[in-house]
Symmetry: C2
Subunit: 441 residues, 2 copies
C-alpha cells in the first residue's frame, strides 16, 4: 500500500482515496469494491491462506450447554458490564454507566442501559402501583398499569442522557477514561408508552396551566417540573423498554419519557402528575441541575440535551494493532431532532471528512456514524463533530469552555462531576505504538 | 357510550367512528383528541377521581435495592421467559420461544430472542475461533473475530424466523396456545456485522460459483447451502446483536445473517464458508426443511420467509375486562421487504380496517401495527392480514391449506411441527365473558 505510506500534511489529502488528513477515506469505501479499501484491509487483517479445513476446536467435539429460559452473554464477555459509582448502596446517588467502547449499533441492551438512582431501586408491585393526574384539571384520574395499558400505545427510539453526563470534560486537563467513563450516562432504547397528551386531554387540563410536577414513587419522591408544552409535544408514559417491561432501575413499572430532555426530568416510578401554574423549584431542578456559570450566575432551567457525538471505536481502553485499515465509528444524537451530519477529523480538527450515517436516522435517538480510515502508523488525533437538522453544531471544546468554564485543577476521575451539559467534541490521541489517550485538541 | 352499545351487523360500521364491523375504529383515533375514543377509554379505564395525594406505598418509605452491573427484569415479571422444548438438554433439538403475548414494540430483547440449537450451545472462546473462506476463490482467507472486526460494519434491524415456526397451524383443529406457543420461533433484533460481499470480494470468488456452503462450529457442524446471489444482496457476518456481542444461543461469536431467509440458513458459530458449484443437499436442507406437499412431493428449497402477521394483544392467555376501548396490536414482517399494509378484522374476515403502522417501517424487520377498537361485549373474532411492498398478501388459512394441506387429526400441542412456512392469519375468538380462544375463521 504505497498510498498508506504517504503522510498528509496540513490537512491535505495524500491520495485520491483520501478525503481528509491522516488517511480518512471517502465514505463510499464502506460499500466495498474499492481497491484502495480491499488491499488495505487485506494487508491488515488476513492472517494467511487456508485451503485445508480447520481442525475441530474443543467445543465442536461435544454437545453444548442447556438452553436457558433467559439468555445471558457468553462468559467471555464478562467485562461488558456497567461501572458503578456506589456498589455498596450507601446513602448517596448510584450511577451505572453504559460501556459504549465495547458496543456497536444503536440499541443499548436493557441490561446495560445507564441508570442513576438517588435512593436505591424500589421494588414496586405493578398490581399495587398507581398513577394520579390531578391539580388544574376538570377530572382527576387514577391509573393502574392495567388501565393505562388500554390507552393507545406508541413505540419510538429515544436516547436518555443525564444532564451530568460528560461532566469530567470540564476538567482543565483531559481525564484518562473510556467512553464509558466519560460518556456512559447516555443510552438509547425503543420505548413504548401512552402519549401523555391523551391522558391530559382525558383529565381536561386547564388552558392556563403552564407546568406539570411529575413525581416518582422512590423514597425521595423525586419530582421535576415539566412544561405543559413539552407534555403535548412528544411526552410518553413509558411501560416497555426494548420490547419488555421497563427495567427496575429504569423506572418499572412506568416512567415519564421526555425525548431529548435531561434524564432526571424523565421521572421514574411515576406516581403523580400535578398540573400547576408555577414550577416546583424542586431540589433537582433548583440545586443539582442548576449549572453555575463562570460569572457566578446559574442557568435556571436547562432541559434540552444538545447535539453531541463521540467516537467509540477506536477509543481509550483499546489499542490499534499496526497500520492499515480501520473503521472509525461512534454515536451521535441531539435533543433537537435528527442528526444531519457527522464530520470526522484525524488531524485534531484541521481537516474533516463526512461520515456515513447508519439508516434509519431517527429523531432524538442514537445515530451510528462510520468513517473508513487507513492508518499509516503515525500519531493522529481523532475527533467527531455532529450537526442536527435544526442547524446546531457541536461547539469546539475551546468555544464551549469559553462560555461554560473549566476547572482550575485537573479532575481526579471520571466519577467527579464538575458541571453539566458538556456537548463539545471528544478527542482521542493515537500514538505510533497504537496506544490511545484522551487529549484536548 | 350509546355508540358502543350499537352492534354492527354483517360488517357494516355502526357509527361514524367505526370503520369496520364489531367496533374497529379509524386509526386516527390513536392520535387522541377524538371524543369517541376519549369517552370510550374513560368509561373503561378510569377507576375514580383522586384529588387527594395517594398514600405512600411500602417501597416509597425505604431505600431501594443496590444497582447491579447488569440489569435484570423485576421479580414481578418472572413469567416473561422463553418456553423450552428440551429443558434437560437431551440429545435432541432445543427450542426456546419468544413470549410475544407479553411484549410490545418491535425489538426482541436479547434475553428473549428465540433460539433453536440441535446439539446444545457451544462454549466458544472468541480468541480461538476462526472463520475460513475457501473453495472456488482466488485467495482463501482466515479471519479471527479481531481481524473481522476491522472490516466495514453495517447495522440493520432484521427478523429471524424458523421455517418451522407456526407449524401447529397445520393442525386440522386450532391448537389452544399463546402467540408464544404458536409463533414464538420468530424474533427481531438490531444486527451489526460485515457485509459478506466484502469478504467474498476480498477472497476473489470465481464468477461461475453459484453456491456457498456455510458451516457452524457446533458439534453437528450444521451446514446449509446459500445462493451466492443472496450473499451479495444483503448477507452479513453478524457480530453484534442489539448493541452487544451475540448471545451464545444466537451464534456467538459470529453468525451468518441472511435477512428474510429461513432461520436455519443463518448459520450460527460460523466457522467455514466454502464457495462451490452445487448445493450440499445437507441434512437440514434435504431432510428437515424439505416440506412434504399433499401430493407427496416436496419443495426442494424454500428459503424465503413470506409475509406474515399475528395479533399479540389481545390474544390467547389474556382476557378482556369488560366492554370499552382496547388497543389491538401485533407484529407484521416479510422476507420480501417492507410491510405495506396490515388489515384487521373483528368479524372473522367479513369486514376489514387498516391498522396504523409504527414508524419507521423497515425492510425484513418487525413492524408493529395498532388498531383502535371499541368492544361492545359481544363475541368477536380478531384477525390480521398483512401485505408487503412486493405485492404479496397473506393467504387466508383456507387458501393456504388447500395448497399445503393440514393434519387429519388434531395436533396435540404447540410443540408438534407437522409442517413449515405457515403464513396464513391467526384468529382469536373473544367470548362475551372476555376469554380468548384460538379459532379458525
Amino acid at each position: 500500500m504505497s498510498q498508506g505510506k504517504r503522510r498528509s500534511r496540513g490537512g491535505i489529502p495524500s491520495s485520491a482515496d483520501d478525503v481528509a488528513g491522516n488517511g480518512l477515506l471517502n465514505r463510499r469505501a464502506l460499500l466495498g469494491g474499492g481497491l484502495a479499501f480491499a488491499s488495505a484491509a487485506s494487508a491488515a487483517t488476513v492472517t494467511g491462506a487456508a485451503a485445508e479445513p480447520l481442525k475441530d476446536a474443543p467445543w465442536s467435539l461435544e454437545t453444548g450447554a442447556v438452553t436457558p429460559v433467559l439468555q445471558t452473554p457468553s462468559r467471555f464477555e464478562k467485562n461488558v458490564v456497567r461501572t458503578l459509582s456506589n456498589p455498596n448502596n450507601e446513602m448517596r446517588t448510584s450511577h451505572a454507566r453504559t460501556p459504549h467502547h465495547l458496543l456497536d449499533g444503536t440499541v443499548t441492551p436493557n441490561s446495560l442501559h445507564f441508570t442513576i438512582n438517588h435512593s436505591g431501586i424500589p421494588d414496586i408491585d405493578p398490581a399495587q402501583h398507581k398513577l394520579v393526574i390531578h391539580g388544574m384539571v376538570k377530572q382527576p384520574l387514577v391509573f393502574t398499569l392495567d388501565t393505562l395499558s388500554r390507552y393507545p400505545l406508541v413505540t419510538r427510539m429515544a436516547f436518555l442522557e443525564c444532564g451530568g453526563n460528560s461532566g469530567a470534560m470540564f476538567s482543565n486537563e483531559p481525564v484518562q477514561a473510556t467512553a464509558q467513563g466519560l460518556h456512559g450516562l447516555v443510552s438509547n432504547a425503543e420505548w413504548t408508552g401512552v402519549p401523555l397528551s391523551i391522558l391530559l386531554d382525558e383529565a381536561g387540563v386547564d388552558r392556563s396551566a403552564k407546568w406539570l410536577i411529575a413525581e416518582g414513587a422512590d423514597s425521595l419522591a423525586l419530582h421535576r417540573s415539566v412544561p405543559v408544552k413539552k407534555a403535548y409535544e412528544d411526552a410518553l408514559v413509558a411501560i416497555y423498554q426494548n420490547g419488555e417491561r421497563l427495567m427496575p432501575g429504569n423506572g418499572y413499572p412506568m416512567r415519564l419519557l421526555l425525548p431529548g430532555y435531561q434524564g432526571n426530568m424523565n421521572v421514574k416510578f411515576l406516581r403523580r402528575i400535578k398540573v400547576v401554574n408555577e414550577p416546583a423549584m424542586s431540589y433537582y431542578e433548583a440545586r443539582t441541575y442548576s449549572q453555575i456559570l463562570p460569572g457566578g450566575k446559574a442557568y435556571r432551567f436547562h432541559f434540552l440535551q444538545e447535539v453531541k457525538s463521540f467516537i467509540t471505536n477506536p477509543s481509550f481502553g483499546q489499542a490499534l494493532k499496526g497500520p492499515g485499515y480501520y473503521g472509525i465509528s461512534g454515536i451521535a444524537y441531539s435533543g433537537n431532532g435528527r442528526i444531519a451530519k457527522v464530520m470526522v477529523s484525524a488531524d485534531g480538527g484541521t481537516s474533516w471528512a463526512e461520515a456515513a450515517l447508519q439508516e434509519p436516522v431517527l429523531p432524538k435517538a442514537f445515530t451510528r456514524f462510520r468513517m473508513p480510515w487507513r492508518w499509516d502508523g503515525q500519531p493522529v488525533v481523532l475527533q467527531s463533530r455532529a450537526s442536527d437538522d435544526a442547524g446546531n453544531t457541536q461547539p469546539t471544546r475551546a468555544e464551549f469552555v469559553a462560555v461554560r468554564g473549566q476547572t482550575k485543577k485537573p479532575v481526579a476521575s471520571a466519577n467527579a462531576f464538575p458541571n453539566q451539559h458538556y456537548n463539545g467534541p471528544t478527542s482521542w490521541g493515537v500514538a505510533s505504538d497504537g496506544s490511545i489517550k484522551h487529549v484536548y485538541a
